[in-house]
């Protein structure tokens, strides 16, 4: 009798667990580790952000399955984009993007558009700041521009035909200043080259230059955003991120922000997208995330759904225009 009792119990348990399964099946969740592609090498801004997300998800137990970060930086990210494009319907694959989402296809002619994949959420926008060496005579945008009209200024930046290069060309167009653009492999390297006086100016992201600024080696001139950065804590003795004026207010009418957003392959369900949006919202609410945002002085605009799509549409067109003007489009 005992045996049959046990059987009955086990049967009940099986029914119960089946019920549970049915219940969870309503809200989709990942059933295996989620791959997180980074279209750049290890150590860069996108990589850092991806690994922070991975760590936050693990630390706060936000998801049952782990996130696995993978770097696929071949061809300025083209490799990652093409692979995500191919993996239609794979709901266990995320992609973090940066401006190369637009610039790489345009510059290299790789058959890819952002609309080939599913936008999930914009996490933040990365700011660009115009820097000069503290020992240089230029104290303002106007002085730098004036200098650029009599001599060729050496501008260092990350990569070629990418965001730094585009901004450089845009500054030249807007002011008539002359630049020689020198591409380097990474933003940290550019900041050091500026401190070492090998280049005259750079448009480093805040996080790449902040420690040199703290040490008094570089001077920010303006930020390429429509309003000053909302971080009032003092970084140096006298200045905070919020004290850096916008470039527009300094007579340099150029705006540029870099996308940090999350995408999925095409052909995933609404429900699956919803799951990741919720997950990312939870990530954004953690103190670790807020700390990262403050450290990098990020613009915390976060969009999703139709708004995000509209933003992407607009930005792609803007990049096409900027790059066409600069002659960066693939032939």
């Amino acid at each position: 009798m005992r045996v049959s009792c046990r059987r009955v119990l086990m049967g009940c348990a099986a029914v119960l667990s089946a019920c549970c399964l049915a219940a969870t099946a309503q809200a989709w969740e990942p059933s295996k580790p989620v791959q997180f592609y980074v279209p750049a090498g290890t150590g860069g801004g996108a990589d850092q952000m991806a690994r922070t997300i991975q760590a936050i998800v693990a630390k706060h137990n936000l998801m049952k399955q782990p996130i696995v970060v993978q770097n696929k930086g071949g061809g300025a990210g083209a490799e990652a984009f093409l692979e995500v494009k191919e993996k239609k319907g794979d709901a266990h694959l995320l992609l973090i993007t940066l401006s190369s989402l637009f610039t790489t296809p345009l510059a290299t002619g790789v058959p890819f558009r952002w609309s080939d994949i599913t936008p999930v959420k914009m996490l933040a926008l990365d700011e660009f700041v115009l820097w000069v060496n503290t020992e240089s005579p230029w104290k303002s945008v106007a002085e730098l521009v004036a200098a650029g009209k009599t001599q060729k200024l050496r501008m260092g930046g990350t990569g070629s035909r990418q965001e730094d290069h585009i901004i450089t060309v845009a500054i030249g167009k807007a002011t008539g200043a002359q630049f020689t653009y020198v591409p380097y492999k990474g933003g940290g390297e550019v900041a050091v080259q500026l401190v070492g006086g090998h280049i005259d100016t750079s448009v480093n992201n805040p996080i790449e230059a902040v420690s040199h600024w703290k040490a008094g080696k570089v001077r920010p001139l303006c930020v390429f955003d429509s309003k000053p950065m909302p971080y009032p804590e003092k970084i140096t003795d006298t200045m905070s991120w919020a004290d850096i004026p916008t470039c527009k207010s300094q007579g340099l009418d150029v705006e540029y922000l870099m996308l940090r957003g999350i995408f999925m392959p095409a052909g995933v369900t609404q429900e699956q997208v919803r799951y990741y949006i919720d997950l990312l919202d939870k990530v954004r609410a953690t103190p670790e995330w807020k700390e990262l945002m403050a450290q990098g002085a990020f613009n915390q605009t976060a969009l999703e759904g139709a708004e995000f799509r509209a933003w992407l549409e607009r930005e792609e067109e803007r990049h096409r225009q900027l790059m066409a003007e600069a002659g960066f489009l693939a032939k």
């Binding site: 059933s31 295996k32 580790p33 791959q35 696995v68 993978q70 020689t180």
Partner: protein, 166 residues
Amino acid sequence: MPQFAGGGRGIGQTTVEVVLALLFMTVGGLAVSEGLRLGNGWGFDGPEAGYFPFWVGILLIVASGATLVQAIRRHDSGRLFVSWPRLLLVSRVLGPAIVYSAGIFVVGIYAASAALVLWFMRGIGGFPLRQAVPVAAALVTVTFLVFEIWFLVPLPKGPVEHALGF
């Protein structure tokens, strides 16, 4: 040198020299054409993107051309690159390796690795299956634990793993 050993019949040294030199010259040719496409000039502020591929390609063609001429001139036709029996030995390892790398695309790296170990131990080493099977199983298990579970490095998987939910 052992080139002479093993029967005296096989692929001649000269033949392989010529084939490799021609291969390198083709690669050089490709580089030159790519250099021309990208622009092989010297701009006012340094070389263009195609400058180095172009000249490196030319140098490769020249160097391989010289090797080619030397190889044909030397004409020591008796010298063997590899004898048939030895080539057979090599192919007994290289063949499975080729099948292995192709198999990874089909059945994933775990199943392919197990098969490779079994083949090497059974087919080449002559170990009995009761030794080969545990070694193969152990290798696959350890690899799976180290990469998929501890370090979270996903390796290529096939239908077997997918059926198990990975």
